[in-house]
Structure formats: C-alpha cells, structure tokens
Subunit: 370 residues, 2 copies
Amino acid sequence: MKFPSRISIRLGVNSYDILLGSGHLARLGQEIKRLQLGTHAVILTNPTIQRASGLTRQAAASIRRAGFEVKSMTIPDTERSKSFTMLGTVLSRLASWDGPGRKLFLVLIGGGVVGDLGGVAAGIYRRGIPFVQVPTTLLAQVDSSIGGKTGIDLPHGKNLVGLFVQPRLVFIDLEFLKTLPDRQFRSGLAEVVKCAVIRDAALFRFLEATPLSALRSSTNRLGWVISRAILVKRWAVEQDEKETRSIRTLLNFGHTFGHALEAATRYGTAYTHGEAVSVGMKVAADIALRLNKIGDSELEKIQGLLRHAGLPQTVRGVKEADLLKAMAQDKKWSIGRNRWVLPTGIGRAIVQTGVPDRIVRLSIRSVLER
Amino acid sequence: MKFPSRISIRLGVNSYDILLGSGHLARLGQEIKRLQLGTHAVILTNPTIQRASGLTRQAAASIRRAGFEVKSMTIPDTERSKSFTMLGTVLSRLASWDGPGRKLFLVLIGGGVVGDLGGVAAGIYRRGIPFVQVPTTLLAQVDSSIGGKTGIDLPHGKNLVGLFVQPRLVFIDLEFLKTLPDRQFRSGLAEVVKCAVIRDAALFRFLEATPLSALRSSTNRLGWVISRAILVKRWAVEQDEKETRSIRTLLNFGHTFGHALEAATRYGTAYTHGEAVSVGMKVAADIALRLNKIGDSELEKIQGLLRHAGLPQTVRGVKEADLLKAMAQDKKWSIGRNRWVLPTGIGRAIVQTGVPDRIVRLSIRSVLER
C-alpha cells in the first residue's frame, strides 16, 4: 500500500506542492530553500503542539540548517484566537522583526486556527508574503491547509474576514497525528468520509474495510487515505479556486446542517466541526433518499461508515427551531432558496437548490434525539 | 480637445473600466447595476467631501434610483485613518449591516485614504466583496484609485498591511476637482508630470504649453490630461499587475527620494506626497544627468515643467543624514544595493540598480537648501 510523497496543485502562478511523509521534517528547510521564499522565517504555532512533541523544534532546526533566520510565536489553540485583535498582534510582530534586506515568510505549524489566521496575516502583510502550511491535525491535513481559504471571525460570525490566498508549500508529516486525541482524529476522518462519498468510491470501500485502530497505527494506510482525500480536494480546487462555480461547493457536503449545528450550539465543545459535519452528512443523505437521488442501501452504507468511524449521526438537546434559524442566517444556505450537496451514489454528488422545506424538516427531525 | 469617456483595464478576470466625465454622477447607479455588484451599497467617504459639495448626495441618490439599498459611513480625512483600528471599525459596520439575502458592495468616494483603506476592507470582507472607486482628488484620479494597490499603516511603517485587489469600476467625475484646494491640485499634478516624463512626451509638451489656470478651468483639457496619465498607469499595470516585474516600478519615478523625504519629515504638512515626489523627480533627473542618461537640456526641461506646475524642487530644514537613513530603511530602495527610476529622455525611463552612493549624495545635496 503505497502513497504519493508529492501531490501538485495546479493553479497557474499560484501552483504549489503538497509533500506527504512520515518523520521527514528534516527535509522542510531544504524544500523552503528550493522555493526561495525569503530570508527570515516566522513560525506561527500553538502551545499544545509546541509542548506535545519535539516536532516544532525539529521543524525550526531544519529551517535554520537551511540558512534561514527563524523566530517563533505562539497563539492559543482555540477558536477565540481567530480574532481581529490577534491578527493585529501577528501583523505587528511581523513588522517589528522586519527590516531592510529582510524578506519574511511564515511557516504555519498547527491546525485550522493557526492555518486560517496565519494565512490571513501572510495574505495581507506587505500585500502578501509567502507562507508554508505544516498542518498538524488530520482535519488540517486533508482539508483546511489546502485550497487557500483563510479567515478570522468577527463577533457577527465565523470566517467573516479573510481572503483566498494559496500557500507556497503544504508540508504534511504524519508524525503529528501520533499525539492527536482520538476525538480529534475521528473529527478529521469526517472530512475524509465526505471526500469518499462525493467523489471516491474506492476510498469509501477501503475505509469500510479498515478498523479505525488499523488505520491509525499504519503509516502506509494513513498516508494512502490522506492522499486520496487530498486528491478529491485538489480536483475541486483546481477547477474552482475561488468557489465561483459550484464544483468547490461539493466539498460542503454535510456542512449545510453542520454549520447550523455548530452555530446553534455556539461553537462549544458539544460537537466538533467534524462531528457536526458527520450529522450533516446523515441529514443530506436522508434528503437525497427522500428525493430519490439514492436508495436505501446507499443511505445504509453511508450511515454504516459513519458508525464505523465512530462519528455521531444524531444530536441531543438542540431545538429544531434553532437549527432552522441558524440555517436561515447562513448566507450560503438560506432556507428560502436553499442549496444542498446531495449524494447521488457512493462517490457521486450534486449541488441541489430549492429542496422543499418540508423535506428539509423531516430529514432534520430524523437526527434529533428526544 | 476630446478625451475618452471609458478606458478599459485588461487584467483577465480582474478587468474593469474607468469612466471619465464631468457632472455625470447621475449615471453611477446604472453602471453599478449593469455590473451586478450586489444588492446593498455601503458608501465610504470623508466628512470634507460630504460637506464640500452635493456630490456624494448625488452619488447616493443615483445608486438608490438604480434599486440598491444604500448606507453611508465616513472616516476622518487624515492619514491616521489608515489604521488597523479603523479597518476593524469598517469591517464591523459591514458585518452588522449584512444578512441573509444581502450582497454588499463598497463605493469609495474620496481620496487616497478612503480608497486605500476601503480597498483593504473590500478585499478581505467575506474573502472579497466588489468595490467601486470614485476618486475625488487629482492624485486619486490619476494614480491611487487605479491598479489595485490597497493599504493601511502600522506604527512600524506606511502601507505595511494590504493586498492587491482590483476595483470593479473606477468612476471619475471632474466636478470633484472644483472644490480641491490649489495645493492639493498641484500635488496631484506631480504624478501627472511623472507619467509624462517616464512615458508620454506629448503629455509633457502639452503641460509645458498650458498655464495652470487654463488647465484647471477647462474640463476638456483636464479630462485629456487625466486620461493620458491613466493610459500610462494602465500600460504599467496591465503588464505587471502585482509589481513582480520592473515595469510597474517605473511608476516610482521620483518616489525613491520622495518617500524618504516624507518619512524624514514624519509625514507632516511640510510636504504633501506630490511635493515630495516633485523634489524626488529633480533628484532622480540629477542622478540621470550625472550618469549621462540625459543631457543638460532634458534636465532643464523637467525642472522647467516642475516650476511651471508650481511644484518644489528643493527642501529646507531637512538633514542629508536623515534622508539617507530613511532611504536605507526603505526596503525597496535601500541604499546599499539601491534601485532608482531614471529618465533617459522626455517620455522614457529605466530602472537602474546600484547607483554609486557618491552620486546619490551629490544629487541629494543639489536639492538641499541651507
């Protein structure tokens, strides 16, 4: 079971490579050197990653060995860090280390918070400086570090401020996953399942056939699964870099309801993003069944895989009205003229607008526990 | 003497038109409608413009007549407004007016401050919303509103945060110039002279032959002069949108020294941007003479036109050491391996690196009054 060590994202002048491996952080500095990203590296990471392993030190050492000056800064590992204030702090730190003859670039070692906030900072400091994503969670490795979506939150909503800006390199080291808590691993797996359902039946079958413990413990299996999810993401991003067509929208399978669930539970600890997306996939699959896009056996297959991955398919203590309200507030998915990503089989999906409210309600009720 | 009413900037998917006219604000709403920019317009302007004429009201009325909801907000007309804090205020205002079914766009009615800050806000709100530039100063009409450079300042330096993001429309109304103070008009003229020297000998000759009062008082003359300067800017921007080649750098003629003078005088009222650029053009032309890029007669022609435009060619009360220090701090133009835009004739210029320090010093001394 081999997996590719390099996956290229072709986006014209914004093209870049994703390097995939295990225990290969010693190569990071040379890869950065080859790309001529600048002279001074600023590593942005979080205290958890910095403490949990020697990996950030290895990364920093590799970059230093390649001849770069390196400075590190950490931001707390919580969604609250994705704030306008924190963005200002990061930009100021960049500015105070900058100077004549220096060319700064950012190395973002962390999960979605570090990647999203750091991407915004890199995108607007001096009208854009290069940045490298070193995603440390499964979610970031298969999803958020790839494709150029960056964002911070405002009190009015999540990811309201940001830009599309592609990294110059995504460097994935599977070693980071060893210290990842189980719940976070499963949460990342939800995005993998998503990719399998919308586009990759072979990945779907492999996930079905592989016990979770066998997946986590094998670098080769893990690398293969991650590479397949990345290839699905690449397929969407290459055709639709800025989500102006509906191709990239397919990646939102499970997210219509998922975002609403996160909002209705105030982005608390009740549901991680991946768990919310998991329930959302069940809702969307249920809608697809009611609209005859898929049959019972396919719904059962999807539900079976979610169960197999240890992911939830029901919610407790959330009111239907709150979910509907949150969906109506969501600009992309407002319920009047709603837009859903629906599976039409295993490995196939479509974007469907105008699903009748009645059907939406029935499918939502199907996941609400009393 | 006719001038084009529409100049197209061709930048692939980022292409847009510049509309040029006098007293044509009534058309603004229809043009915005044709471009399908959104549903709700947010006008960003400054109190001076809002008070000085009925023009912002005309603009708002035209947009309303075309069927859009309109909200206005003003920011103080000073460089201090180009702050991270003010950016946060604008973004929050956008977010609080936003909602399901709404598609916001920005209309920036003002000079460089409104255009630069508003451009950043439009570029990063919801990963980019459309915006229209309605430049109200000569400087903004011929220079800052075109080409997609946006920016705000940090305590560490000017324009340290921003991005390249093109407007969807630039709408120029010459009426705005009627209330423009004389000093500001001449300051804008400095950028016009710059364009003439680097690329447009016919514009240079016309400016030489036209008294300032005759220029200001004639819509046709003014429109023609502005259109010629825009065509020079277009020529550079179309070939080099993000200043990655040295073509766009040519627009920095006069700015090497100009930026240093502004920094050395702490961006105070002693020298406007255009005045600083004017002295900077004298310095650059002086260097060009010493390097035999131009002859005495061409230096005299350039100096003659600056004099004719009522623009300064010398500075008082500034120390040579402070200017050299400011230039050394300027990342683009650091004096070790410096980079200068030098005229090689009237209507021609080159980017020259590594001008000997001795020559730089001599040319700087040539503008220092005791």
